[in-house]
Structures are given as C-alpha cells and as structure tokens.
C-alpha cells in the first residue's frame, strides 16, 4: 500500500507510560498524506494517548514518559531542538468535547492567528471567513460574530472548533472522537466535512464508532490493550481482517 501514498507521519517503536503503567506497546504506524486514517478499538485501548502524541499534547500530563520516534516529514518531533509550538501549528487538533473559548465567535477564530503574530486585520478577517466556509459554518454565524461562542449549539461549537483549527492553516488535523458528544445530524455534517477536508489536509480520526470509521476513512488502525493489532486499507480491515481480534471487534463480539 505504501507505493501509492506518501507517508506524512510515521510512528516508530512508540511506547508511552503513565507513571509505571505502559499504555502504548511498540506502536509502528504510517499516516498517509491527504488520506483519512481512522484509529478504532475498545475504550481504554490507548487511542487518545496515541493521537495526542502526534502533536505532543501528552506533555501536559505530569509523570508520563515517551519512548520511540514520531517522524513528521522525516523529522522526529520529539528531538530536543524541535520547536513544539511550530509542531502544534502544523498539526492541528479537534477534541472530543467542543472546547470553544469563553469569548466571542470572532475572537475564537482570530485567536490562533494572533498568537502566531499576525496583526493584519484584513488578512485575519479573510482567514476567518475562509475557515468558516471550509467548516460549513459560515451561513449560521455570519451575522453573529460578536456573540459568545458558548451560545452556539453543541454541533455548531464543534464546527467552530474545526474552523478555529483551520485558521492557522495546519497540514495535519487530528480528531479525537469529534462526534462523541453530538447528535446524529451534527455527526453527519462533521463526517461530510471530514470527507471534504481530506483534499487539502492529512487527517487522523479516533473513533469507537465502526460505521463512522468505515464511512470516512481510507486506512484503519485497530488497537487493543495498548497494541496496534492491525493496520490496512479500510475496506480490507472491514472485509478481510487478518487478525482474529480485529474480526471479533468489528463484528461486535466485544468492545
């Protein structure tokens, strides 16, 4: 499969500890450019832990320990001389629960640009509008820029968070169960959105919803108890899984 697609991120021999507890066991996984890679597995198997390693978010958790390499375009993002702020700008993230700032809609969207040193008002407005259009939210908020973002519905908040992530023009976007707290209609809209975003971005999505993985992703990784059990094209995983545990999981025997 690697002949056809370009590897953007590669995890090599990744291990991760919470205290003494080994949460990820020697994970090796490629993430392909402009593809959607889904990570599935029962809850507690380490999906969030893994995806949060890709933009070094786990560093915020005290008393943790990382081993191995995460190569982004061939460079290990855990090298001591790598600027973590630059990595996080390149690798954006959308979280499980919508987390808009308790600020206005416009301030939510201009935040990322401002912290990255952009002052030009015109450019900021342009980026804000563009991102809202990409996140399919423009029509709903175009007259409400100064309203508190907390007044939006849950689904709108999550699309706002996606738009906010897009403003700083990341190259890779990480989604950690982005629909877990949303209703089916909002879930649908976000899935459509992800489908469109992959033209421009490399996407990694964690989900414990197998239908969702099957619908939106090109590749699927199945994790179980901190191990990567199987990784392949999505249609292969869902039709001819090689590992018995994968088969049991996708047929709903456990999880």
């Amino acid at each position: 499969m690697e002949q056809y697609d370009n590897v953007r991120i590669r995890a090599e021999e990744v291990r991760f500890f919470y205290g003494d507890k080994l949460a990820l066991k020697d994970i090796n996984l490629p993430i392909f450019e402009n593809k959607v890679t889904a990570i599935i597995g029962p809850s507690g198997c380490g999906k969030s832990t893994f995806i949060r390693l890709l933009n070094r978010m786990n560093e915020l958790i005290p008393n943790t320990h990382f081993e191995g390499k995460i190569l982004l375009d061939g460079v290990n993002i855990y090298d001591p001389d790598v600027d973590v702020v630059a990595i996080r700008r390149k690798v954006g993230m959308v979280f499980q629960k919508p987390n808009p700032f308790p600020k206005s809609i416009f301030e939510n969207l201009s935040y990322g640009l401002k912290v990255n040193g952009i002052r030009d008002r015109h450019y900021i407005e342009e980026r804000v509008i563009k991102s809202l259009e990409e996140a399919a939210l423009w029509n709903e908020v175009k007259d409400r820029f100064n309203e508190s973002a907390l007044r939006l519905s849950g689904g709108q908040q999550q699309r706002l968070c996606i738009a906010r992530c897009l403003t700083v023009e990341p190259e890779v976007i990480l989604f950690d169960e982005p629909c877990a707290s949303l209703d089916p209609i909002s879930t649908n809209r976000i899935e459509e959105l992800i489908e469109n975003l992959k033209q421009k971005y490399t996407i990694v999505i964690v989900t414990h919803n197998m239908q969702q993985a099957a619908r939106v992703s090109d590749y699927t990784a199945f994790m179980y108890m901190g191990e990567l059990i199987e990784f392949d094209r999505t249609e292969k995983i869902f039709t001819v899984p090689r590992d018995k545990r994968t088969e049991e999981y996708i047929t709903g025997k456990f999880g």
């Binding site: 702020v85 308790p102 990322g112 990255n116």
Partner: protein
C-alpha cells in the same frame, strides 16, 4: 415514626438553624445600628476629630484605612498572582508543591496579632520604616497574601484543562495561553478573592496596632512614612483610652457601623461579580 415524619423533623431542624443564624445576624445589625446611627452625619464623615475625640468626625481614620488597604493590595496582589500562577501553571505536580501549598494554607491560619508582631520586628524596627503607612500596608499585605494565593489558585484550577489544550493546539506558547485564555477566564474568581481580602485588610486591628495606627493625628497623612488613624484601631482606642468614655462609646459605635457598611459593601461587590460570572458561564 414513618419516613415522612422523619423528613419533616429533618427539615424542621434545618430551618430552625437558619432562623437562629438570621436572628444572630439581625441582632448584630440591630445593636450596631441602634447605637451608632445617631452620631452619623455628613460632618462625622468629613471632619477631623475635635475636643479629645468627643466631637468632630473621623475623616482621618477613613482616609488612613483607605491608604492602608490600597497599600496592602498593591503589595500583595502582584506577588500573590505571580505565586499562584507559578504554582498552578508551571510547577510540575510533586511533593514539593504539596508542601508549599500546605505552608501557604497554614500561613492563612496564623492569628493576625502574630503578623502584627512580625511587622513590628521587621518593617518598623529592622527595616526602619517606623510606625507608618508603609509598615502597616506591608504587614496587612503579608496577612492577606495567603488568601489571595489560595483564591487565585482555586480560580486557576477551575479553568478547564480543555481550554489550555485548545490554545496550545493552535500554536500558542504556554505564556500566551496563560495571558490570553487562563487569566481572563479565571479573572472573576480572582477578583472575588481579592475583594474579600480588601474587606479583611480594612477590618483588622491587630496587624496595624504596632505598625501603623495611632489614636490621634491632627490632620491627614502627608507621606507613606507617616502614622495614620484607622477605623478598626480607632474603635479599639475609643473604647480603651481617653478621658470621656461615655461620649467616646457612642462614637465607637458610629465607627463600627461605618466599618460594617464598608465591609458589607465590599462583600456585595464580590457576590455580584460571582453572580455575573455564573450567568455568563451558563449561556
């Protein structure tokens, strides 16, 4: 007894305690107001004392309390904020930080007269600031520091981690995250703590007794190295010194009423701020 009767008894007991507390509060208010209200007038608030404290007003004490309180905040707020931010945002969770936290909490339990003696030894004598606004402000500042640190810590800890993550994931530095997301979100909580500290600083007698306050000054302080009159100490002095105890007592109740009103006003501001924050948080 069936369970409904048990419930009735339980509620009865709870409402009785409520009534009791309201009664005590009401009695305090009643006695202070009844005894203090008749000395209060525009003159009382704006004039300097005359005739050995038995006539005139308490303006220098009001001004003195104002200076001491402002001085305490100017000193304690920046240090308290910095300390709390460091402890919550920067320092990795460890045994050391727990020990520091515990010490700060213990500091909050130190009786205020001990702070007064400390201020006398360090600011008045050792640093040579004398009995002055400066010494008193620093002493009050140290007294309210633990309160400001704890209130700020609590407000910072109440900021959801998801907001910090949102900011960092956009490529903000930790400092930008603190300045633009964490502090603004925590601000109402911090303000509430600060305002309550203001009330405490304005009302304490013991810390300023040896470090700043004097029974009588001719006029208003000219520099931070002057002694001042201060409301709580003035009450204490009126009741324990002087030559006309009868008339002084009436004035003391007047001062107590003013102090009570001031502190209640300050608490009311804190409550309003908190209420506003709640409304904003839930829409």
């Amino acid at each position: 007894m069936n369970k409904n009767q048990v419930q009735w008894l339980g509620f009865m007991f709870l409402s009785l305690t409520m009534v009791f507390i309201l009664l005590v509060l009401g009695l305090i208010l009643y006695f202070i107001i009844a005894r203090g209200i008749h000395v209060i007038s525009w003159e009382f608030l704006t004039q300097v004392p005359r005739r050995a404290m038995t006539q005139g007003g308490i303006a220098p004490a009001l001004v003195g309390t104002f200076y001491l309180t402002i001085g305490a905040i100017i000193f304690a707020l920046p240090i308290g904020l910095a300390c709390a931010i460091y402890l919550v945002e920067y320092y990795p969770k460890s045994i050391v930080i727990n020990i520091i936290r515990l010490s700060i909490n213990n500091l909050a339990g130190v009786p205020s007269v001990v702070f007064g003696l400390f201020g006398l030894a360090v600011f008045v004598r050792f640093l040579g600031f004398g009995v002055s606004i400066l010494s008193g402000s620093l002493t009050l500042g140290i007294m309210i520091l633990p309160g400001i640190i704890s209130a700020t810590q609590e407000a910072l800890l109440a900021v959801p981690q998801s907001l910090r993550e949102a900011s960092l994931a956009l490529g903000a530095t930790q400092w930008q995250t603190i300045r633009k997301t964490v502090l603004p979100t925590a601000l109402p909580g911090i303000m509430t703590g600060v305002i309550l500290s203001v009330g405490r600083a304005a009302g304490e007698t013991a810390p300023i007794m040896f470090t700043a306050a004097t029974f009588y000054t001719r006029g208003f302080p000219g520099s931070i190295f002057d002694q001042v009159m201060a409301l709580p100490y003035h009450i204490y002095a009126l009741m324990t010194e002087g030559t006309f105890p009868e008339r002084q007592t009436a004035i003391a109740y007047g001062c107590a009423l003013i102090l009570l009103i001031l502190v209640l006003l300050i608490s009311a501001i804190a409550i309003i701020l908190r209420q506003r924050q709640r409304q904003y948080g839930t829409v």
